[in-house]
Every structure is written in structure tokens, then in C-alpha cells.
Symmetry: C2
Subunit: 219 residues, 2 copies
């Protein structure tokens, strides 16, 4: 898509209308520091900061995020380790969320799945109505006004949709964000990264900046 076409399309997308800075939580999961995912994250962080917003940035690999949810943390009122609680507090206060990761098997890397399992937890991101044993429809608790997901892939878009059904779309849009109360959702997959030219990747990074700027405009 050209930048002009993108901007035209974005015109009809809701954005955060704000005259004051907001908190943007940016979460990155890629094991390679020189990855295109890192470049996307840098573009997103820079755009948010340039627009006057407060950025909370997590590179889950860099931080060695402990990915495996233990049984003891499952109950809503469980004691949560301080390190996980900090991630929860930030998520529950974010006005905007940006997730960046490669498409691995139609899913996020395990370290990011662990972030979902441990941080997007009951009492923080959703809860069940009183009297519900967990079989009902959860109530979303996240106050963020928009969630953006940027993915990279080496599968051509047509094959991703026709052969695999592009599961990342429903995983993030419906299973995670809509369930937690965030309906204003935008996702973009950049592919094929492995054979892309430097020029193509520069255009993609400009596109990231344009999307982020649209959703989180100048404070």
C-alpha cells in the first residue's frame, strides 16, 4: 500500500483525541537485536516521543521476561511476584498499546505468549461478573483507547490468509484486545521480510510512523 493510500484509509479510523500527553505501552518480542522488529519498535517509540507522549517500552528478550505462568498465579486474587506486578500495573494504566513481533507458527513467540498468560490477567485486564465460575463472558478492564499490532513474516500475504487463515488477526483482535475492552484495533503484517529490499523496509518504517502518529497524534 502506498503511504497516500494508507493515510486515506486511516482517515476513517478512530484515533485518540487528546490535548495532553498519554502513556503508550510498547512491547517487542524478537530475539535478534538487529531485527526488522527492532527497527519497527524504534520507529514507534520515536514517533510517540516526538508527539509528546510518555513511552513505556519493553523488549521482552532483553528483559529476559519469565514466560511460564505457574499454577499459583491463576486465581484472580493470587500473590503475584513484584516483577510481573510491575508489568500488570503499566498495562492497566496505558492509554495506548503497541505490540511488535514476528509471526512464528501463526502465533507470537513463546516469550510474548508468556506475557499474555501472566500480565493480561484477571483483575487487571478482565474479570468475570459476580457468580460466574469462569464460563461466562468476561468484562474487559483495560482503559487503553487503541491497540496496534505490527507483525513481520516470511510467508506471502495470500498464502498466510488462504492456507493458514491469518490466525494472528483473531488472536490479537478478538481473543485478547476485544475481550479486555479494547475495540479500536489496527494490525499490519509486513511481508516478505527475508527477501525485502532496504528501500522497501524504509517505506515500511515510514508507514509505522504514519500509523502511530494517526492513532496517537501530537499532544
Amino acid at each position: 500500500m502506498s503511504l497516500v493510500a494508507l493515510l486515506f484509509q486511516l482517515t476513517y479510523k478512530p484515533r485518540i483525541n487528546t490535548i495532553s500527553p498519554v502513556k503508550i505501552l510498547i512491547v517487542l518480542a524478537n530475539p535478534h537485536k538487529g531485527s526488522f522488529n527492532h527497527a519497527i519498535a524504534e520507529s514507534a517509540v520515536r514517533t510517540c516521543e516526538k508527539n509528546g507522549h510518555e513511552v513505556i517500552f519493553h523488549d521482552l528478550y532483553e528483559e529476559d521476561f519469565p514466560a511460564v505462568l505457574p499454577y499459583s498465579e491463576i486465581p484472580k486474587n493470587a500473590d503475584i511476584p513484584a516483577v510481573v506486578e510491575k508489568y500488570c500495573r503499566e498495562l492497566s494504566r496505558a492509554d495506548g498499546i503497541i505490540i511488535i513481533h514476528p509471526n512464528w507458527w501463526g502465533q507470537p513467540p513463546a516469550i510474548l505468549k508468556g506475557y499474555i498468560d501472566r500480565v493480561i490477567r484477571p483483575g487487571v485486564a478482565y474479570e468475570f461478573a459476580e457468580g460466574d465460575s469462569g464460563e461466562g463472558i468476561p468484562i474487559g478492564l483495560l482503559p487503553a483507547k487503541a491497540a496496534l499490532v505490527f507483525n513481520t513474516a516470511n510467508t506471502p500475504a495470500q498464502r498466510e490468509i488462504e492456507t493458514f487463515g491469518d490466525p494472528l488477526e483473531t488472536l490479537w483482535k478478538n481473543c485478547v484486545f476485544a475481550l479486555c475492552g479494547i475495540d479500536n484495533f489496527y494490525r499490519r503484517t509486513f511481508s516478505v521480510v527475508v527477501t525485502s529490499s532496504a528501500g522497501q523496509r524504509r517505506e515500511w518504517l515510514d508507514e509505522v510512523a504514519a500509523v502511530v502518529k494517526h492513532y496517537f497524534p501530537v499532544a
Copy 2:
């Protein structure tokens, strides 16, 4: 579904025709030792053993599986730690595969996603044709004749399909097993577990035994 209806349905499903014992790899991911997932695993293991097959069983939580794929392991010819290599060797020799896990956010728990990321690797489960930089269609390498997935959920089946699109179906069927060369796939989600009666759970375990027995009949 009644057991009779199930057996009728299974009649038309391909099964391993064998007169000798086969190797069945069973992988379980649930942090609670008393979980219904553990009961499913026990039923699957017992059925395979009763039918004379060799069972390789992994309880990923019990084994503290190291879930996070490091950058160094991504290349096809990377040096793989001995602990991961053992899992790879078993996978590449399994005649049948059974996966058991709860539906967490339309996905497996992070520890099992880590098993996918690290064990279902290039050179073991799939490879690219010569001259392909990784953007082409991989060639499946797994020799297993059938893969079964048993899931548990607290979301009613209709909501899982209508609201979320039941992403676990395409994740396991298309993104993982078909890509790795296994087209003979069967998946069953038991739901709603949290409000199920003891009688219902006993029926479900009988169903697990019937399915496993169908796919991996007496040696």
C-alpha cells in the same frame, strides 16, 4: 457427542494400520497436576500402552521445559543444546503425536508455544527447498502418520467459534502439522470444563480412549 456417534464418525477417519507396535509421542502442558488435562494425558498414555505401543510422554511443566527460543538456535544448522536435541530426536522418530493443553487466549500455554518454537525446527520437522531463502513453501519432514490434539476450555463451543473463530484449529492443523507433513489430524475441545460434572468428565475420558484407540489400534 455420544460415544456411538463418535465411533461412527471415526469410522471414516484414516488410522495407522499396523501389526507392530509404534512410537507415540504425548506432550502435555498444564501447570496443575490435578487438572483435567492430566486426566486426558493419563487416559491417552494408558490406551497406547494397553494397545502395545511405545509411549514417550512429556509433561512440559513437570520437566520445566525451557520455553524461550534464543537467536542462536534459529539457523537450520545451529548448535542445539542437548536437552532440546533430545526432544527433536523423539519428535522426528514418532509414528504418532498427541498434544494436550488448555485453550489460553486461543493459543497453547507459553511453555508449549516454546516447544513449538524450539523443537519443531528446520531440519527436524520441515525444510526449505534448495535456493529458497525462507520465503517459499516448506517441505514437511515429520514421519508421524497421525496427530491428535485434545484441548480443554471454559468458553462454550458456540462462542469459541463465533466470537474467536476457534484459532486453535488452524494453528495446530495447518500452521503446525500440515506444514510439517502430517495431514491426518484430529482435534477435540472439551468444554465447558469448569462447570462440568464428574460424570461428564468420565464420559470425556472414555471418548479420549476411544479416539486414541481408533488412531493407534492394537499392535
